[in-house]
Amino acid sequence: MVRLRNLFAVVMLFGIYSLLSAALFVALDAVDVAFTEAAVGAGISTILMLATLALTNARERSVTRRRALALAICTVTGLVLVSAMVDLPVFGALEAPAHAHVVPRYLLDSYREIGVPNVVTSVLASYRGYDTLGEVTVIFTAGLGVLCVLGAGREPPADDREDG
């Protein structure tokens, strides 16, 4: 993917990668996340990138540059992260700190309090409803931003570089 010059193939590989990560989320018990990743990550992202390629040119010209610098930065950062990760809870631990605080209430009481068997739904729409409201605000703002940047509804001026 790093070496491919044909951007169409790169975008297709990215779609496959998103779909595979959706499968990984199913294996990790996150079925709702998998749905969203398959629909939004693999679907909408790929369509957006294909639309970008259709409006621009689909081939990359320049060669990879700053390769040594990039490799050095990635190696050093990766080693730091690996040295930090051994302090994290073991994968799949039943008593990890992340499961200790509000999660028992969600799992034990949410059916009585909200009445929806899917805990992810009741947390998303009820306990953390304000998060979801904020999310909708972000999407609205991003949509406005895209429309403003692309200047929807009017023809682009002939000499566009002057006002950019």
């Binding site: 993917m1 790093v2 951007l7 790169v10 990215f14 990668y17 998103s18 990984l24 989320f25 990790l28 018990d29 996150a30 079925v31 996340v33 939004v40 990550g41 909408i44 992202s45 990138m49 970008t52 621009t56 990359e60 010209r61 320049s62 540059r65 700053r66 990039a70 490799l71 930065i73 990635c74 190696t75 990766g78 992260l81 690996v82 990760m85 994290l88 994968f91 799949g92 631990a93 039943l94 990890a96 992340a98 499961h99 999660v103 969600y106 799992l107 949410s110 059916y111 899917n118 805990v119 992810v120 947390v123 998303l124 998060d131 999407i139 703002t141 931003g145 895209v146 940047v149 950019g164």
Partner: protein
């Protein structure tokens, strides 16, 4: 050390993916590839959070009398939000890419820098 790494293999995968995304962002001059690199980086964070929530022997957090042990639903909710926000930022980034292409006629970082330098040299 090796045993420790084997117990934390999910984080190892996350670090590898994260550094792949970072490498693409730094080393590639093409703007679309940079956006894809950012997306890979983002997916690695999603996988990190979801693997925090996994409990071995647990099942998806949909309540049923047949199951006792569920995985942690809270990271799932956070990442659901993050995926949707991520697509919104990707859309905005791609809109900027299209706008840059309209202005400069190229998506390569070095060519854009060259055009900028020429314009500044011509103006001043």
């Amino acid at each position: 050390m090796l045993e420790l790494l084997a117990l934390h293999y999910n984080y190892l995968a996350v670090v590898v993916l994260m550094m792949t995304g970072l490498y693409v962002v730094i080393a590639n001059g093409n703007l679309v590839k940079k956006v894809i690199g950012l997306n890979i980086f983002q997916t690695s964070v999603f996988i990190l959070y979801i693997s925090f929530g996994k409990r071995l022997g647990g099942t998806a957090p949909i309540l049923s009398p047949d199951f006792e042990l569920y995985s942690n639903p809270l990271p799932h909710v956070l990442i659901l939000t993050a995926i949707v926000v991520g697509v919104a930022t990707t859309a905005l980034a791609l809109a900027l890419v299209i706008r840059i292409h309209r202005g400069y006629g190229t998506l390569e970082e070095d060519e854009i820098e060259r055009i900028e330098a020429e314009e500044q040299g011509g103006a001043g």
